[in-house]
Subunit: 362 residues, 2 copies
């Protein structure tokens, strides 16, 4: 395990993407999204994605510089096609437009068809957060969840993120699947020989199981809700599937599933003076945090606060990376002709050789 | 137990409210909301509310004919005050305005401050449904739910309803609290000596309990989510609390809680041709219903379908009412001077005396 400062990873990503033919601005944006995921502890969606993305560009699957195409719009609603571009760039363009529209009217929703990988879903609502707005994003994810009363995988796990500003401390950033567990995390549990808690998964006959080899390719995940309450998670899941599917004309009739991305922005100032809003938010957060603790908890955190705390720590300590991942990153750099001698591993940390300077992107 | 046809209950409500000084239109609307709740099997929010509402009017607490006051607006956002009026009438006015705005722009959100009782939350999204639009409504409800990691009641149970049109059969109408169980249902379980399922409630020390005397006035309810997943229900609950509180300037700083009503309308046609939308919805519903069944289930239903089926049955069979409730309704009628001899109980059903004709409101 080594640690790398975020500035060094930003420098790395920018150089590698640019060498692969991506423009400076787009290279910086995609890298920023990845490094931000690492900073928040969501390493699966972080810098380790670079080699795959570079292969995508080289194979022509991902077209740098692609612009979204507007298919339909009102002053508050937009339907766009993002075919062929970096998902990160298309989602940025779509969210920028949604924010612009919400600034005029108070709310705006956007649906995106045909989009490349957009990484950590929380990134998109955070764009609204930076403007003192509420941001919402959802995409379907894998079809892993059984309906209430059924035992087959029929509903997507529906990753959803909502970001809400606060006055002090961590903002509210919820970012999770409505279904129990992401497919990637199931694979990790299988690799490590671990089990899942009761009530998450069923096998092909509908019997409860704690075996993480079920829930993605066989068996199914159960909808959100404790004993007898799964009908609530089931309904919420269908609602999100409507937003990312039929509503935005992004429902695939052959595969019986939604395939789009849904973005929403609420401009708080159109509803309530922002200072009053933040005062109320801070009071709500303080009141929730004042609750007596459950056994095994040291503190009550608001959604997004664990990631916020990780980010504060990693600003100081850097981002931990497996040696194998670092090696893969260096291999990719060499393949696109970036001189890797500028990055030196020293005492478990990556430092920049004194004869190089960082690209100033962060 | 007796049964009453909906037309007779409509007639009853209209006559009684009008005799109490409510205009014909408002009397018909409030009665319609109540009888519709009965028709869908939500009898707690049905005709049995009439005596209380009449007392409210007579005591001057509820002012018939009140109009909502607009406090702030954009073409898509409205904040209104509903002080003093029938909640049903204020919510109707607010939803009508929200629908009108959504027809122009595709989406509209409205926040309501200070509102009387609005009964079954599902009624408001159904107004959008009638116009081939998606409707959303949420209000806070009792503060019964513990945060993730805490054991005190800090979050409201957040009743939320979303109504979405389909092409065939029952529309999608979800209508439930995000928290495990409404306060009224807890009281009924206590009266009947029944228990609640595991994972719903904790006592004052945070220990699990199946005793329904906890969860409203002592102990707490746990947020939505099976083992280890309550952080998801907790986050969703906070999000809804922001919509019904800080966002719409309806957060009470003394009581640390949201106190408003949030309404939303999405005009499907602004996103997608309505026929295409309904075709996708019907496919999604058919695919979900095609799942192999879990043990103990005869059929997979979509949210709102149980209530839809009850309504189809009650159109034929009438609405069952306790004798005691019928007696209370007749007492109230007599107090406001409505001649109750027109309603006759015969063979367990209420019929109208041949010398009277129904008020034509339904």
């Amino acid at each position: 395990m080594i640690t790398v400062k975020k500035e060094v990873l930003m420098d790395y990503g920018c150089r590698v993407f640019e060498a692969a033919g991506v423009s400076g601005d787009e290279a910086a944006w995609v890298t920023d999204c990845l490094v931000r995921a690492n900073m928040k502890g969501v390493d699966s969606h972080g810098i380790q994605q670079v080699p795959g993305y570079v292969r995508g560009v080289q194979a022509g699957r991902t077209k740098p510089g692609a612009k979204m195409e507007i298919l339909k719009e009102t002053p508050a609603v937009t339907i766009v096609d993002g075919f062929g571009g970096f998902g990160y760039s298309i989602a940025r363009q779509a969210m920028q437009l949604t924010i612009k529209k919400a600034k005029k009217l108070g709310i705006a929703f956007t649906g995106i068809h045909r989009l490349g990988h957009i990484g950590r879903v929380g990134r998109w609502p955070e764009m609204a957060l930076e403007q003192d707005m509420i941001g919402i994003a959802s995409q379907p994810g894998g079809v892993f969840v059984a309906p209430w009363g059924g035992i087959e995988r029929k509903l997507p796990i529906n990753p959803i993120s909502v970001a809400i500003p606060t006055g002090q401390g961590s903002p509210f950033v919820m970012d999770f699947s409505l279904g129990p567990i992401a497919g990637g995390r199931l694979s990790i549990l299988v690799e490590r020989g671990m089990k899942v808690p009761p009530g998450w998964l069923i096998d092909d006959e509908g019997n409860p199981t704690d075996d993480p080899s079920y829930g993605a390719r066989k068996g199914a995940q159960l909808p959100l809700g404790q004993a007898g309450l799964g009908y609530k998670g089931y309904a919420l899941s269908m609602f999100l599937s409507v937003l990312t599917g039929p509503l935005i004309a992004a429902y695939n009739l052959e595969r019986h599933r939604p395939v789009g991305v849904f973005l929403g922005v609420l401009d708080i100032a159109a509803f309530t003076p922002i200072d009053e809003f933040k005062k109320s938010m801070d009071d709500m957060v303080a009141d929730i945090k004042s609750s007596k603790l459950a056994k095994g908890f040291k503190e009550i955190l608001i959604p997004g606060e664990p990631e916020y705390n990780t980010e504060q720590r990693r600003i100081k300590s850097g981002i931990p990376l497996d040696d194998a991942i670092w090696k893969r990153l260096m291999d990719t750099a060499e393949k696109v002709g970036v001189d890797t001698s500028m990055y030196e591993v020293e005492k478990g940390g990556v430092v920049l050789h004194p004869s190089y300077t960082l690209k100033d992107r962060y």
